[in-house]
Symmetry: C2
Subunit: 242 residues, 2 copies
């Protein structure tokens, strides 16, 4: 089965957590909105599904994944589905729920990262909420990042299968997502992260191990990996990096 | 099996979505932090698990549910678990993922509702971010609530099993959660909701039907149902209700 991923074509965004899982799985997939409209791709293809007036199960927002007859939205839900099919999560119920729980905590962190540059409204430019962004980012870096990443450090330290992974004894989609969090936070807040990483040896080591996994390394070196930039979740505004 | 729910004892908060599901299921459960410390309850019992230095699977934040040997956190994850056990979600994979997808969209809305009164930081008082809250709430009511609730209206209209439910032909935990959203938004923003509800006949009808389901009605009339108030997600500040 060839998956079809639908996500905005010019940013990593939330779609990147799905891309990393598909790449690590070696899955056959199309990144539909990045293909030409003439081949049924482009943003037009994404919007057709998003409007979804005839769909039984319309999505609210990208990313969404077509998997045969299924159309699955919400990043963590897509990963829940893929994890079970590609050995990227434990097979048993307890492990599956645990991996998903961690992914939902990552989703909460992603929302807080996004809101550092958009604390007032997603419909206003950053420049129109810069003062509020400064206040929000300062508290985020001082207390929220240490709390979230300290939690993942604790989860690794307490993993009975060893502190190389978040879940069990093997790489999971949660490891891939935490890699992306660290990479993105380093891009957005290099000064703050240089300071914070000193207390996060396991999280940093996990990032480094994921980055050199053969399929992930090949993906990161390819044109399929979009660069970070000032349109996505992780944005580098020097005045917020305190 | 007797479930143990752990959530802050004085607010509805995110725990309320779990309470509604447990009540509709007629499940046997303890609301642990609302019981006396002398009987192993209170916030102390919650904090012992939250610190979780010896747990294999420590939670990041309440609510969490003890179900035999499982300790499950993240509201939507708890409902995913309960839905399958108590007939509060479809049994098949496609329906289960769909219900969960809708619940995750409700979780996104809950976060946006919370941030109307805390746009800058959860660690500051409302009074210290009131100006920012005014700006955020105005955009939220003008564009985000119509978009979210309009989406749920569309989902019901397009449900091939009929427009009385969000998922399939029977009540699910997603219906219960949407009831709570409507009830909470009415409490927080009565003026705005009176205006917005005109375009949401199915969503309003769903709210009304859930409210009179026998177990839900009994719960709402009981002391187990905490009142809305200015400590939870849904807060009534007149200046934000525009």
């Amino acid at each position: 089965m060839r998956y079809e991923l639908y996500y905005w074509p010019s940013i990593q965004g939330r779609g990147e957590f799905v891309r990393l899982a598909l790449e690590e799985a070696g899955a056959d997939y199309r990144d539909v909105a990045r293909e030409p409209e003439a081949r049924g791709g482009g943003v037009a293809a994404l919007l057709r599904l998003l409007e979804g007036r005839r769909l039984e199960r319309p999505p609210f927002a990208p990313p969404f994944l077509k998997a045969g007859r299924l159309l699955i939205a919400q990043t963590a839900n897509i990963l829940l589905y893929l994890g079970g099919r590609h050995g990227l999560a434990p097979a048993g119920e307890a492990g599956r729920l645990w991996a998903h729980q961690l992914q939902l905590t990552i989703a909460d962190l992603v929302q807080e990262i996004h809101d550092t540059h958009h604390p007032i409204s997603v419909e206003l430019y950053y420049e129109d909420q810069r003062d509020e962004a400064r206040r929000r980012a300062a508290g985020f870096l001082a207390r929220r990042v240490p709390r979230f990443l300290g939690y993942f450090e604790q989860v690794m330290a307490q993993n009975p299968s060893g502190d190389r992974h978040l879940v069990g004894a093997r790489p999971s989609y949660v490891d891939l997502s935490l890699f992306q969090i660290v990479a993105g936070l380093r891009y957005a807040f290099p000064k703050a992260m240089a300071r914070l990483e000193r207390k996060l040896p396991r999280v940093v080591a996990l990032h480094d191990r994921v980055a050199v996994r053969p399929r992930i390394a090949a993906y990161l070196a390819s044109e399929r990996r979009l660069p970070f930039g000032e349109e996505g979740i992780f944005r580098h505004y020097g005045e917020l990096d305190v």
